[in-house]
């Protein structure tokens, strides 16, 4: 039975996933499904189901969501959280599911695009500072407004932002991001079920 093979039963899974202790009320989940019913991603991806993911975490089943494509789809719009009768902050769980998945080499293709942005932000003190050509455009737009050509960020701010990257381990983390031994992910929550696809 395909569904049963996911019963990998790790008693401590919940604590391991929520290592930052940000969703400590997770076991108050009523399995009511309001999160799923209000989720824009679920409306486009029927197998994406926050309630099911929560139940897997609480039951100690990691195998299925770890290798799933579904967990990379969440928009973080928090419709789930604002509709949850018990104020469960699913996006903060989702953030940590993704950390655990990447530790196990799943889903790296979904974070690699941000490696470059993070290394750039480390230099700029700003996120999405573009390359030379884009910079010219920003300078032109800002000058048209009569504002300084570049956002007024000090050299000190930039140096200290960079230093915080280094001091908190973020530099090492970002530099180590690599998709070399990446394991494949797919839509796992459809397995063993009839789908229209």
């Amino acid at each position: 039975m395909p569904r049963e093979k996911y019963r990998d039963h790790d008693e401590n899974l919940r604590a391991k996933v929520d290592s930052y202790k940000l969703v400590e009320n997770l076991e108050t989940c009523l399995a009511c499904g309001k999160c799923t019913g209000n989720c824009p991603v679920a409306s486009l991806t029927p197998s994406y189901n926050p309630r099911q993911i929560i139940s897997d975490v609480l039951n100690g089943n990691a195998e299925r969501w770890l290798a799933s494509e579904e967990i990379w789809r969440c928009f973080w719009c928090a419709n789930c959280a604002t509709n949850c009768p018990n104020d469960i902050h699913f996006p903060l769980l989702m953030m940590q599911l993704r950390y655990m998945a990447t530790e196990k080499k799943y889903g790296l293709k979904y974070i690699m695009p941000f490696r470059r942005f993070a290394l750039r932000a480390r230099e700029d003190g700003l996120t999405f500072g573009p390359s030379e050509k884009g910079r010219e455009k920003i300078k032109r737009l800002r000058s048209n407004l009569g504002a300084s050509p570049w956002p007024e960020i000090s050299e000190r701010a930039k140096a200290e932002y960079k230093e915080l990257f280094d001091l908190t381990g973020a530099t090492a983390y970002v530099e180590a991001l690599s998709d070399e031994d990446e394991k494949p992910v797919d839509l796992r929550y459809t397995e063993g079920r009839i789908t229209n696809e």
Partner: protein, 318 residues
């Protein structure tokens, strides 16, 4: 700070502040620099002094939620930035839902877990900072709503019934306490549009998110973001929307920049310009066009401006 979920603007601001700290948004100062500029201009007309500080950095929240790095970094960045605001003795005002949501959530985590606050303070102490947790975090739109009548009294270019669709953005409505409305059925933007003389349009997918946060615009553009936004714009078009407003330059990027891609993919034209609600307030209050920065937009404002009879060189300083 008020721990009730939803509060009235009068309760939130018994006194309107004379001076505020405006938190620089990366997207709002680079992608759509007119946003930052418009907000400064409107605050000036309302008699509210703005303080910014070049030592403030990016809030670091976007790439955190894209899983590019871990929370330790963002906690330290939040503590450092907010400690800079505290040195000015002011409250913090955001004009990006991202900056707002991330700063507030990370500050909340530090309040709830003193060990994280300690960790962040230990790191920033090396740079000579200390975060107390005193500065309150607000969104500038809260002042727009509080000062709705004052804004209405200063309107020189009424919107003449222009059909405006608002987009609230999730990261404000999802905040856990001290906000103007939750994600149930917010109307405070519509009330502002009415105060400017516009017609708010309650389109079907009004509360649908922009789809761009946590980087899905980079990872799932075709599979998710475009079909998602197509639903939104289809419902806006059906409702006869002429202009859409945001209160987050990140949402603005998604809603403005994706439209040509939707047109190409779904062979349907939308051509709905998307601007910040602060820019619209500025426009109605007679801030010169040159200071509003609509030239950064992909979907041109020309049609709307023509309809309102506003042209370049119009200047109604009040």
């Amino acid at each position: 700070m008020n721990k009730e979920r939803v509060v009235t603007p009068e309760k939130m601001f018994p006194e309107v502040p004379e001076k505020i700290f405006l938190f620089r948004s990366c997207t709002g100062s680079m992608e759509y620099p007119g946003t930052e500029n418009a907000i400064k201009e409107v605050m000036k007309s309302l008699g509210i002094e703005i303080v910014m500080d070049p030592d403030q950095t990016c809030c670091s929240g976007y790439l955190l939620t894209c899983s590019a790095y871990k929370p330790e970094f963002s906690l330290a960045v939040t503590a450092r930035n907010l400690s800079i605001v505290e040195r000015h003795g002011l409250d913090t005002y955001m004009f990006c839902n991202g900056c707002m949501g991330y700063n507030l959530e990370l500050a909340h985590i530090m309040h709830e877990h003193p060990e994280y606050k300690q960790m962040a303070n230990d790191v920033i102490a090396k740079q000579g900072y200390h975060y107390e947790g005193k500065t309150e975090i607000h969104h500038v739109q809260e002042l727009w709503y509080r000062l709705k009548d004052e804004i209405a009294a200063r309107v020189v270019h009424p919107l003449n019934g222009l059909r405006v669709a608002v987009h609230y953005g999730c990261h404000y409505l999802a905040i856990q306490y001290n906000i103007l409305d939750d994600a149930g059925y917010p109307t405070f933007h519509e009330e502002i549009i009415e105060a400017l003389g516009g017609t708010p349009v309650y389109y079907k997918e009004r509360q649908m998110c922009c789809g761009y946060s946590v980087g899905r615009g980079f990872t799932h553009k075709e599979t998710l973001v475009q079909p998602h936004l197509y639903k939104k714009f289809k419902s806006a078009k059906e409702a006869g929307v002429e202009l859409m407003t945001t209160c987050c330059p990140g949402c603005n990027t998604a809603l403005d920049r994706e439209q040509p891609n939707l047109t190409k993919r779904y062979e349907e034209e939308f051509a709905i310009p998307v601007i910040d609600i602060g820019q619209l307030i500025g426009l109605a209050m007679g801030v010169p066009l040159e200071k509003l920065g609509f030239d950064a937009n992909t979907i041109r404002m020309d049609g709307v401006l023509k309809k309102l009879g506003i042209g370049k060189g119009d200047n109604h300083d009040n």
